[in-house]
Amino acid sequence: MALKIVKGSIDRMFDKNLQDLVRGIRNHKEDEAKYISTCIDEIKQELKQDNIAVKANAVCKLTYLQMLGYDVSWAAFNIVEVMSSSKFTYKRIGYLAASQCFHEGTDVIMLTTNQIRKDLSSPNQYDTGVALTGLSCFVTPDLARDLANDIMTLMSHTKPYIRKKAVLIMYKVFLKYPESLRPAFPRLKEKLEDPDPGVQSAAVNVICELARRNPKNYLSLAPLFFKLMTSSTNNWVLIKIIKLFGALTPLEPRLGKKLIEPLTNLIHSTSAMSLLYECVNTVIAVLISLSSGMPNHSASIQLCVQKLRILIEDSDQNLKYLGLLAMSKILKTHPKSVQSHKDLILQCLDDKDESIRLRALDLLYGMVSKKNLMEIVKKLMLHVDKAEGTTYRDELLTKIIDICSQSNFQYITNFEWYISILVELTRLEGTRHGHLIASQMLDVAIRVKAIRGFAVAQMATLLDNAHLLTGNTQRNGICEVLYAAAWICGEFSEHLEDPMQTLEAMLRPKVATLPGHIQAVYVQNAAKLFATVLRKHDGETESQAAQETSQLLIDRLPLFVQSANLEVQERASCILQLVKYIQKLQQKNVEVAEEVTALFAGELNPVAPKAQKKVPIPEGLDLDAWINEPPSGSESEDEKPKAVFAKEEPKHSRSRHTEVDEKELARRREVRKQEQASNPFYIKASPSSQKVYDAPGVEHIPVVQIDLSVPLKVPGMPMSDQYLKLEEERRQKEKAERKKKEKKKKREKRGKERKADSGPESEEDITPAHQVDIVTEEMPENALPSDDDDKDPNDPHKALDIDLDKPLADSDKLPVRTHRPEVLKSPAEDRDGESVPQETKKKSGKEKKKDKEKDRKVRCRRIQKKMLCSIETRLNQLSWFPVQKSSKHKKKKQKKEKEEKEKKKKKRHHHHHQHHGDAGGEDSVQNGTVEEEEPLPPMSNYSLLAENSYIKMVYDIQGNHQDESKVVVSVIFENKSDSFLKAMEFNVLDSLNSKLQRPEGAGAHDSLTVPFQLPPGVSNEARFVFSVQSIVMPQKLKGTLTFIVKSDESSTHEKLDFKLHFTCTSYLITTPCYSDAYAKLLESGDLKGSSLRLEGINMPFHHLLARICFHHHFSVVERIDSCASMYSRSIQGHHVCLLVKTTVSIDAKCDEPSLLGNVLDEIKQTFSKC
């Protein structure tokens, strides 16, 4: 035998192992893919062999290939095979492979349920450990449901190694099977106080993960965590707890108050930076949550900021980074305490580490005030110049814009300065953020009326120098700016100094190289400028300038008419025709300026980005209704512009080209204005909103004259710097003035106004250079409140939002599938598709789910059957129970029985495989291992039979489905000695009523040989069949076990006497019963009643039921609130019905009173024990 193994391994050692594979791949650098494909072929061959070692080796190699990116899911079944090896070495390889490549879609996963269950209860802790580790990676909802109970049992395992793994994996189980959270939670809570620090840490870990997602459900644990925090010394645990508190405090400010002190102590005492950092973080969270109601904890803030400063000043980049990160959290609520560290943060902008620079930038965002904005931006502008790498520079650019534009330009006192900054930014090479700058320019020019003159001048310069921006086609990101420039110049052309020149700049041939949408804007705005020029020269007869302008347009526009871009083409040709027509009129000396200007009349107002979304649907508007019914007569509000036209010139308007005179135009404009006023979709300057936004009113604001004596461009100096200087001067001057003068009315007014918009900032000394009117974005009237819900409906954590403080209800039970109490539908009802009338809706929903489950199981059975034949032989060890090897002929017989049963099953639909697990331990042996048979739950029915110093025997008696006069006694023999036990013989003194089944030909007093030997410390199980005649009475049988104890020196004969106790319970078989059949049974009147009261029971009702189910082989028929009906059947067909009430009285009925009496006595006994 040993020789054979050695020979096998010699054969094997020339197989390629993992190391050889790796070496091979390294040696075939050129044709790696080809080499690997030959290796995969080899692996496929190896997987076909029977030798588990070869298979494990192959799977090991596959795991490596998986890492390299090869799909190995085709070998999933082989992985399952290797997982089920009895050797730890191979098992581990199998589980590793499974954890790397199994996922919810892997269909063989359902074959693993029993294997995993077996490994979980393996006596070897590493088998269990490896199974738990593997399961944590590929647990599915099905596995979670089926194994939740087993894992929960492991949470109280004797070995901390198992306990901690079991506790950790519960989180994954909760995620996949949220129903398990409530029943498992009490035990999880218990583990917070486990004596082993590892287990404790695991429990903290799991609860922190849970609480992070749904903190409010865990508030009640706060005292416990508080205790842990003050007592624990494990930094890892402390960090987790402190992080958890950070999540809890926003919900419970009182908790925060309590926390401050111990946290502060920790901050002072700990040497671990990680702990310090988390403490600071949580203190910040506490302070944020307190900031609303509480007086200030300035000492704590100071402490935090001080500690963070130490972190930021540390030479370790990691600490610096985290310090900045935490600082930004303080910034939100206590900006002032951070602002005092501006120096430090600005210093970080110079750091060589980009992440740190970015963090510092984030901080700057919150640190600006009216006072320091210019200064900070100046510094940033310097960085923009220095920055290498476009990403960082782009980041700077967006940050500058963010900082300046935040909260509606709150901190900008001088918009001229801002415009110059924007213009300076356009000189950035290769930025992607042209559109950002452009939108800022537009925003400012539109919303700040006072700045338009300046903006237009700047934009005109930009347009004039457009070649600088577009010189390099690579940098076309920036040419977006021209879009804004052209539009601003056009729209606010009345401010232009020299519109003619700008017009000329806009029509240069080079413009044609710009992107289409920009050209389109150019063309459109050229027309606006044209109108302005005409108006300027209005009144001058035979104005040379006006005609020159027309000519210029007529000369240049054809270039755009040829554009490939449709938008450009269309606009250009329209305008070209218009201009040609105007030119004709000009030549006739007709006054056209007014009319052309009218084309572009009207004010444009900014609109909030969400405005469109927020327009409420008007009452009575049905968007699904026909638009054309009733036809044309009605004035749908959507079609206002059309309707105007139709009203004025009924029917003929389109066919007639009337020359409209000025009056007519004016009238139309008036009508249109009115229409617009009543049209909710037209965005206009509504008088009401104007009132709100423009409270100060432009006219009343004293506008400080722009000192244009300062040249806009100072050679060698960025012009925005000028403003900085000017600003400083201005501020000083103002200060001086204020000292001299008494406050005048205007000033008072201004002061008030300033207070209103600058909030509590103490910046009284700064008055804006331009009192600007920042037009707020418009929203439609009666806009709908925001309905944005950011929560992801697919978040798996949503399901875990479960109230854990409620006492466990009956429904909160982990599925111990053997005894799962459920209401069964009779087949008849199934057909009708009706649900049991008493059931609530909720229950029927559950039922449906279960049906689905069953469907799935049927499907999975099919797959299993297919695979069954191939693996039955190899996977014998998968079976939960040790195989009874003694009776070969019996096996055959049982196979037959199995077939019969299969047929029965078909008749009885598909419910039953869940039920005979408990009584049919024997079946599972032959059922071929991978069947989803029920093993005994770890709490066991086995009771002690006899024990001496060598051997211990425990036994359990179960009825046999198939034979009404037979019961099976399973005896587990455990060798307690250091010697070998062999030649065990089992004998029982038969009584008249009960007899041990002996093989044919054996005498009535012959003993049975136990079909195995026991090495030291090993246990094994054997079964003995007894025939019984009457089952109404319990019975005791005397018996003897003889065996030989063989140690090194000697061997001795030993004998052990025992008494087998056949209880009446052992004749009962768990049998499912339909509620309607049950009702009929009770109605029939054949049953005789009896009742029992249990005293002093204080366990939850569902525990009580579970115990009755488990120990006395009952099944729950139905449970309604406070009572449950239960059913069982004896092997001889007696019906036993129980009605159990929460008052722990049991009413029982049975067709055999003495059997019933005995069963009730036994139940009573069971509960008196506990």
């Binding site: 096998g8 192992n17 990676c137 990691n318």
Partner: protein, 193 residues
């Protein structure tokens, strides 16, 4: 939660990858490539945190990494993990490897990736930190190693001999993961011991 643990070398070759969420093999490779790209272009003495791996998880996630000689150890974690704690954990991991392999170098990881997985399994389970105490980890790893040896028993001997012979002509590789000379600054490592 830890979302993924990746080890790759200076050239981006994966030496071990462990994903605690399911991705297809292609996505996994992409993630490794992307992570390598992000991490490798960073200088030596800048901070070890990176925000925004695009493929794994979203904005909540961070990459926390350490670079030892030829290898990068990258942990992708979400906001429930303490950054410095994870850095320490990486250190514990590497030191454990160093103990288990006796002066670990890239070659050990190349040829014994299964062993690395087994060691990791004693530290992190299903994305959650299981054990941070190095001696406890080593005890468990060694106990399992012993079990493996006892199972191989007499039959394992010839195979071991052959593999020893095979290993003799390994190409010379610098044995330089030696964490001793890298002098990693772990601000609070003693706290775990």
């Amino acid at each position: 939660m830890i979302k993924a643990i990746l080890i790759f070398n200076n050239h981006g070759k994966p030496r071990m990858s462990k994903f605690y969420e399911h991705y297809t093999e292609d996505t996994e490779q992409q993630i490794i490539r992307e992570t390598f790209h992000l991490v490798s272009k960073r200088d030596e003495n800048i901070c070890n945190f990176l925000e925004g791996g695009l493929l794994i998880g979203g904005s909540d996630n961070k990459l926390i990494y350490r670079h030892y000689a030829t290898l990068y150890f990258v942990f992708c974690v979400d906001s429930s993990e303490s950054e410095l704690g994870i850095l320490d954990l990486i250190q514990v991991f590497v030191e454990t490897l160093d103990k288990c392999f006796e002066n670990v170098c890239e070659l050990d990881l190349i040829f014994h990736v299964d062993k690395v997985h087994n060691i990791l399994a004693e530290m992190v389970m299903g994305g959650m930190v299981l054990e941070t105490n190095m001696s406890e980890i080593i005890t468990q790893v060694e106990a399992q190693g012993k079990m493996e040896k006892s199972e191989a028993g007499i039959a394992g001997a010839p195979a071991r001999a052959v593999s020893a012979v095979k290993n003799m002509n390994l190409p010379e590789m610098p044995k330089n993961i030696n964490i001793g000379d890298i002098s990693i600054k772990v601000p609070n490592l003693p706290s775990f011991k």
